[in-house]
Amino acid sequence: MLSQEFMRNALLAGTFVALACGVAGWFVVLRGQVFAGDALSHVAFPGALAAAAAGVDERIGLFVATVAVGAAIGALGRGALARGSAGSSAADDTAIGTAFTFILGLGVFFMARVSMSSAGSSGVLGAHTLFGSIFGLTAGEARLAAAIALGATALTLAIARPLLFASVAPEVAAARGVPTRLLGIGFVALLGVVAAEATQAVGALLLLGLLAAPAAAAHRLVRRPFAAIALAGALAVAAMWGGLALAYAIPSLPPSTAVVAVAVAIYGACTTLA
């Protein structure tokens, strides 16, 4: 299996992307911002298409769209708190939902533009953006994806402690000098980067499988925050490896489907057992 280059590339990119998803995802679940993550992944689609329509590398469009919208969500939202009541976070969800239907409409628009300019290619691009193309990465693309994902992971870990403090005890953290508002915005923007990365691996529509499921499993299993973060990363990577291996063994199984299926299976197992 490892003798095949496409597999090596997929594993390289996939491992670090999964790690970033798991680590960031733990905070996403803590802060009740899963829907925001969903929105960001959906934003990736028109972003990529807009770039294609403009004749630019789709990845640039991906990143610009997700980070910009991420920052906007962070700035406009009331700052999801880990207080767990459906009140604040769910109300934010309504606003997020309306915003990203508009964004999806934009996706439709750009899709039309792309198909007008270069017939037929929009469909393939659309499918890749929506469902990933991890087996089609070149070595250079894989290395770049891995590097960015690793950077995103490192950044998340760097802000981990104050972010936890701000999520659990916002007023105390603010009194202690933690820039809670800035952290909130920065985190969702960082999530945008992670979403853009993961889109290349599993696709925009399946991102939540890597972002939410392993992290939710880790939340249930382990209580110590930093151990749980590590576990979330580990579970996501395990899901990635398991999924890629399965997809390699069964050619008709798309890799993104396999990865998400393994991730959700892990989550299901943890939920019933824990």
């Binding site: 207080r83 402690r161 403090f165 202690r176």
Partner: protein
Amino acid sequence: MGDPAIELDAATVRIGRRTIWSDVSMRVDRGEFVALLGANGSGKSTLLRALLGALPASAGRIAVLGRAPGAASGEIGYLPQRRSFAPQTRLRGVDVVRLGFDGDRWGVPLALPWGRGAGRAREARRRVAQVIELVGAASYAERPIGELSGGEQQRLLIAQALARRPRLLLLDEPLDSLDLPNQGAVAALVGEICRVEGVAALLVAHDVNPLLAYLDRVVYLAAGHAVEGPVEEVVTTQTLTRLYGAPVEVLRASDGRLVVVGQPEPPAHHHDRHDDGDHGHSHDHGHAAADGSGHAAAHCSAAHDRGRVAAHDEGHAG
């Protein structure tokens, strides 16, 4: 003796066009346990926020630990109002307290078995255990904080505020949602902390009785002004009448408890549900309805009934 922990000198705070309080002078020295009293809406939370540097003084001077408000945030332990955790919160008490120790430091605490990291980790664990012991929460600190009772959570939150050996504790209505035995216990705990650790404490309350036995002094905030002094001098008929500018009576029950009668209510500021807490008055207004029977309705009525008892006695736990 060093700088006082808190010093206000003819300070005034305005929010927008509203003057919350003016010409307030008070002083809290090291190791003192002082209560900040007053009816709902009198500006107690505003004073705490001014001490934290969240609100600027429009006039006069405010000094905290000898410096401008907000400059010494690392040496202040702060317990905001009405904090409780959702029942499903799985974070353990220990972790919550640990956040008070180093939650504001960037990065991840690396538990490496060598080097500086290990030393710091050990110190953190030791301090956390020590402070949990101090508040008497050792038996339940390892459990998820969402499962604990209000009093138990409150103790852990006090431990969190104490984790970094602050020189000043600011507690915003910590007794508010506790039952009577717990109110007394937490009051006693704060008193002991002041004595043992030499920490100054300013505790906001709207009922002075659970605190009577442990207080050094009180500051009574009403009608935009403040009076400071020992309890028996401040919470009296004459002093409060002078402060409010209206007939207020203080009765002493047979067991020593104080009951304040005839306190005028401050103007009710109706705000719609969407108000954020950034408007200073909404903090105090928010729990106006909790102040005993009959007051919720009375707030919205135009007429003001001086005969109403703003009772500070048993049964008005919040």
